[in-house]
Subunit: 144 residues, 12 copies
C-alpha cells in the first residue's frame, strides 16, 4: 500500500489555539484525522510528523526516504523562509514534495513571500486552508 | 446553478504547442473540457475566457461580477508579475479568486517569484499542472 | 472653443462601486457631469474617454493630439506605476498633461509611490478626490 | 471666521531670486498677497509663516493647532525629503494638511521623489506653481 | 518566397513627428518602404505590423508563427522594459527574433537599459537608426 | 504567586567565558541568582531555561503558555536575527515578551541591527548588561 | 550631588495630546515629575530640557558636558532616524547616553528601525513607556 | 576689499576638545586666527560664522549673498550627509562654495561618503586638516 | 596526543547517496576513515561528529572546547549561509576553525556565496572534495 | 581613402579555440580577413588591433584619433562591464564608436548586461556573430 | 614531467614588505622556493610568473595553455574582485585553476568577499597562508 | 632634496584636447611645468609619470617607494572608481598619497562618487582644477 508522509513544521502543533483569524480553528489533529479518512478511500496510508526542530524535520525526511516513501506533503511553516538545510534535504531525498501553507503567504509580511523550499518541490498551494492539504494528497496519490 | 469563471491570461492559448517541457502537452481546450466534465458532476457551470490583452481581462472580470458570478479561477500568466491594473480589478470586483500556475514559479526566473495578483486572491496553486485548476474548482465549488 | 481631454485609465469605470472607502462614492459619470458643468462656464469643451486597455489610451492620446487638443487631464490609474509606453505617448504627443489621482498615492502600497507618467507631465494632484480634477481643469483652462 | 495657515519651509523666502527657471519669478510676498485676495472672497482668513528652521516649523504647527486652526497649506521645501520630525508633527497636530510644491518633484533629482510628509497629509499638489496653493486653498476652504 | 515579419510596438506609429531629436525624422512608412525595396532584391517578402496594444502584438506573433514565418524584426518600444508577456510569446513562438531600437538605449534613462525581450532573441541592435532594421533584415535573410 | 519565564537563547550558556569584552564577566548562573533574589522581594517566581536549540526554545514557550505563565524575559541571542519560527511562537503564545540583549546591538555588525522577534514583543532593552534583565523584570512584575 | 540630564527631542512636548494610542496619556510634565520624585530618593538631581530644534539639542548637550553632567537620558524622537549631527554631538560630548523610546520602534514603519544615535550610546530601551525612562535612570544613577 | 565667508556647521565649535584623534587639537578659534592672518596678506577680509542649527546656516548663507559676498568656505559637518535644504540654499545663493572636511570622509563610516552639498559646490577638500581651509582660501581669493 | 574535531553539518550524513554529481560518491564514513588513517601518521587523534541540528552542533563545539580540543575542521553545510548562532559559537569557543566545503560554493546559487561562519574562522577551502578536509587537517596538525 | 579601426579587447585573440559553443568557430584572423574583403569593395581601409591590456587599448584609441581615423568598430570584451577608463577614452577621442558583441549579452550572466562603454558609443550590436562586425562596418562606412 | 604554473597577481611582488600583519613575512621568492622543493619530490615542475598587469596575466594564461600546462595555482590578488577579463581567460584556457588567497577574504572589507574568478575555478583556498599554495599543489599534482 | 612623485592615470595624457568643458584647456605638460616652477621655490624636486596602464601605475608606485620618495600626488582618473589593485598598492607602499581630481566628481555620474583609492590616502581634493595639484604639493611639502 502506497505511503505518503504529512510533515508539519514549527508552530503547527498550536493550530486552532494560535491566531485563529489567520490559521483557522481546526487543530492539527483535526487535519490529520480528515486526511486519514480521505486517504483510506484512495488506498493510501499516511504517516504524520510534526516538529518545531529544523534538525528533526531533516532527520525525518531521510528516514522516510529510507523506508520507501515516495511523496511528502510538507508545510514547513516559518522554515520556508529561512532554511537552506531543509531545501538541501528535500533536494537530496529523492522524494516528491508538495509545499502547503494554510494562509496565503502573499497577503502577509514581505519576508514571507520568499521560499527556499518551493524551488525544489513539485509545487506550492497557499491560502486554501485544509483544502490545500487535500489537494496535495490527491496529486501525490495519483502521481508520486 | 452556481457559475464560476475560468480565466486564462496571455500565451495560454498556445498551451500544448509552446514549450511543452515547461507547460505540458495538453491544450487549453483539453483543460477546459476536463474542467467542464468535473464541474457538471458538482452542479457548477463554468464560463471560459482567454485573452492576451490585459484590458480585455479587466473588462471580463467586471462583466462576470455584474452577471452574478462569485468565483474565478485565474491563471494570469505573465501579467501575474507586471499588472497592477489586474490587481485592482480583482480587489474591486467583489469576487473570490484563486490564482493558478501550471508550472512552479519558484523554479523559474526570479522575476516570476513576485505576484501582484496573489495578494488580493484567496490563495495560489503553482506547479500542479491541470490538477491545480481542479483543486481550485473544488475549493470554489464549496466555498465561493 | 478650447478643448480639453479628460482621460481615465483602468478600473475607473467602476468608481462608486469599487472600494468606496478608498475612492469615494461618486461614479465616473458623476465626475464627468460635474466637470462638464464647470467647464462650460469657462468656455472650455471637454471630451471624455475611459479605457482599461493601455493600447487604447495610447491611441486616444495621439488621436487627441491630431484633433488639436492641447491639454489633457489624465488619471492613469494603475498604469501610472507600470507603463513606460504611456510615458512615451505623453512625451511624444506635444500636449500638456496634468496627472490626477483620487486617493493619496503616498498613503498606499509602496509600489504606488512611483510614477512613470508624472515625470513627463506638468504636475500631479493626488488625494483631493474630485477636486483634483477641478484644479487640473482650472489650470489647463488658463495655461494650456 | 475660518483660519488657514500657509506654511512655507526652507529657501522659500528666496522665491523669485533663486533659480527662477525652476521656481518662477514670483516672490513669496507676491504669492501671499494673491492668496490673501482670493481667501477674503471665500470668507477665510490666512496666516502666513515661513522659516528655514525645521524646529520653528514644528513649533508653528503646534501653535496653530492650539489656536484653533483646522487646515494648513504646507510647502515643506527640502524638508519634504528628510524630516521625520515634521511628519510626526503633522500626524500629531490633528489638523488637515495639503502638501504643495511649486515645481514637479518627479522631474527633478530622484532623492526628491520621496516624501516623508505626504503620507500623513490629505493630498499633494506638485508642479502647478502658484495655482497649486490656490487649489489647496479652495479644497481646505470647503472641507477642513 | 521567404517571409519576414517587421513588428513595431507602441508609439512607433508616431515616428517622424514625435521627438525627432531622439528618433530621427523618418516616418514608420518611410522605414517600411525602404525595407521593402531592399528585401525585394534579396528575394524576401516582408509583412508589416504596428500596434500600441501589447495584446495585439502577442496575437500577431502567434499568427505569424502559424502562417509559417520564421524570422521577426521586432522593435518592442517601451514594452521592451515592462512586458514579460511578450517575452513569453517570443520564447513560445518558435521563430527567430532580432530586437531593434532606433536610439541607443544605454544613453537614455536607466529603466531603459533592462530588456525582458532581448534574452529570448538572437541579438539586439540599438542606436543605428534605420540601419538597425537593415542589418536585422540582412541577418534574418541569411540565417532564419 | 505570579510566574515569569527567563528564557535565554544560543551561546548564553557560555556567558562569562565567551568574549567578556563584549558580554561581561558574569555567568548565566550569576544572572539567574541575582534575578531570583530581586524577584522574591517582588512576590514573583522565576523559571529559567536556556537552550542552543531553536526548536527547544519554541517548545518551551508553548509549555510556559500552557502552564499559565503570562510574561517572558527573552534574550534570543543570535536567533533574534534569523528566526521567523521564534517570531511566530511569540506571536502565537499569547504571553507578553520583553526582548533583552546584554550588548548594544547597534554597536555591532549591521546584520545584528535587524530583529525578527522585537516586532512581536512589548519592547526591547539592549546594551545595559544585567540591568537590562532587571528592568524587564520590573516591567513584567507590574504590567504582565 | 550627581546630576543627570533628561533630554527630549521633537514632538515630545505634545505627549498626552498627540496620538495617545501610540504614546500613552501621560504628558511630558507628568513624566518629568515622576522621574524627579524617584531621582530624589536616589540622591540624583535631574535637569530637564525639551526642544523641537536639532540645533538646540546639540547646544544643550555641550552645555551639559561643560557643566559637569556625566549621564544623559535621551529620547531623540524622530531625530533618532535622521540626525548624524546629534550622533556626532553624543560621541563628542564625553558623556554617557541611554536612548529611550516610549513606543517599540520595531513595531512601526521600517524607517524607524534604524538609529543613528544608538550606535554611540550605552544602550537602548524601546517600548516600555515611562518605565523606559525609569530603567535608564536606575542605570545611570549606578554607573555613570 | 574682497570678502569671503568661512562657514562651519554642527559640532565644529567643539574642535580641539572633541575626538582629537579624528579632528586634531586645534580649536575653531585657532583655525579662524590662522585664516585671518593669511587672508590679510592676500587683501581679503574674512567673516566667520559657526552654528549647530541647520536653519541658521541657511539664513547666514542668504545674508552673505545679500551683503555682496561672492565666495564661501563651508565645512557643513554632519549636515553634508543629510541636508537637502542646505544644498538648495547653496544652489540658490549665487555664491561660489568650496566644501572642506578636516578628516578624510572616505576613511569613515559609509554614510559619510555621500554629500548632498558637494554636487552644488565648486569642489571638495577632505582630509587635509587646516590646510584644507587654506587651500580653499587660496582658490577663492583667486577665482571667486 | 593532539586532538582535532571533524564536525559535519546538515545533510552530510547523506553523502554518497545525495546528488553525487555535486558532492561525489564517497560516504561520510569513507571520508572519516581516510582522515583517520592520515591523522594517525601525524600523531593526531580525530573525533567525528555529524548532526542535522544547529543546536547540537553548537553544543558539540562547546563540549570540544571544554575537553581541551584546539582545532576544528568544520563543514557547516547549509548552516554556513543562515546561522549567526554558529558564528557566535565559533567566535566564543576559543578554538581554531577551518571551514571546508566539498563543492565550490561560488559555482552554485548566489545565496550560497555568503558565509556567516567564514569570517570567524582561520580560513576556507571550497571545491576540493575530500582533499579539502585533508588540507585542513595538515594545517591544523601543524598550527593549532 | 577612409580608414576605420577594428579594435578587439581581451580574450578575443582566442576566438575559435575558446568556448566555441558561445563564440563560434571563426578565429579573429578569419573575421579580419572577411572584413578586409568587404571593406575593400566599399573603398574603406581597415586597421586591426587586438590586446588583452586595457592600457594598450586606450593608447591605441588615442593613436587612431591622432592619425585621423574617424570611426571605430569596438568589441571591448569583458572590459565592456568594468572599464570606466575605456569609457573616458571613447568619450575623449572625438571618434565614432560602434560596440559589437559576438554573443547576446542579455542571454549571459547578469553582470554582462551592464555596459560602461555603450553609453558613449553610437550604438550596440549584440548576438549577431560576425554579422555584427559587418553591420557596424556598413554603418561607419556610410556615416562616420 | 608534469608542469604547473604558479601565477601571482598584483602587489604580490611586495610580499614580506607590505602589511605583514595581513600577509605574513615571507617574500614571494620564499614561497616560490618552498613550492619548488615540494614539487620536485612529487615529480612536478613549476613555472612561476607574477605581474601587476591584468593584460600580462591574461597573456601568460594563454601562453601556458599553448605550452601544454594543465594546472594553474592562481592568486589573482585584487583582480579577484574586479576582473571579468581574467574570468573569461580562465574559462577559455581549458586548464584547471585553483584560486589561492593568503589572507581570509571573509575577514576583510566586504568588496573582497566577491570573486569573479572563483566561479570558473575548481576551488578556492583562503586564509591558510603559504599552506594554501601547498594544498593547491597537492591537489593539482594528483588530479590535473 | 625632498622628492615628490606626481602620478597621473588614464586619459590624463589627453588633457587640453579631451572634453575641455569638463577638464579645462591646460595640457598635462602645462600642469607639470607649473608644478615644477612652484616646487623649486619650495626646495622640492618633482618626478612626473603618466600612464593609461593600471599595472604600470602600480609598478611605478613601488619603484618610487624603493627610491625613497615619501609623498605622491595622485590623480587616478577612472581607476579611482574601479581599481582595488591600486588601492592595495597605495596601502602597501608606505608613502603618503593625496588624491586629486580636476573636476568635481560629485557633479558627475553617480558611479564616479565612489573611490577605492581615497580610503587609503591622506585626503582628496576634487574640482579645483590645477589648484588642486598646487594644494596637494603645498601639503606634502610640509608634512610628508
Amino acid at each position: 500500500m502506497k505511503k505518503i508522509l504529512v510533515l508539519n513544521g514549527p508552530n503547527l502543533n498550536r493550530l486552532g489555539k494560535r491566531e485563529p483569524e489567520i490559521y483557522g480553528r481546526n487543530t492539527l489533529e483535526d487535519i490529520q484525522t480528515m486526511l486519514d479518512q480521505v486517504s483510506t478511500s484512495m488506498g493510501v496510508k499516511l504517516e504524520h510528523f510534526q516538529s518545531n526542530h529544523e534538525g528533526q524535520l531533516i532527520d525525518r525526511i531521510y528516514e522516510a526516504a529510507d523506508s520507501g516513501i515516495k511523496g511528502v506533503i510538507f508545510n514547513p511553516g516559518a522554515y520556508t523562509h529561512t532554511s537552506v538545510a531543509l531545501r538541501d534535504a528535500i533536494a537530496g531525498s529523492g522524494m516528491s514534495f508538495i509545499e502547503v501553507h494554510l494562509s496565503n503567504i502573499y497577503k502577509r509580511e514581505s519576508f514571507r513571500h520568499h521560499s527556499y523550499t518551493a524551488g525544489v518541490s513539485i509545487g506550492v498551494i497557499s491560502g486554501l486552508g485544509i483544502q490545500g492539504y487535500m489537494a496535495a494528497l490527491h496529486y501525490l496519490a495519483m502521481y508520486s
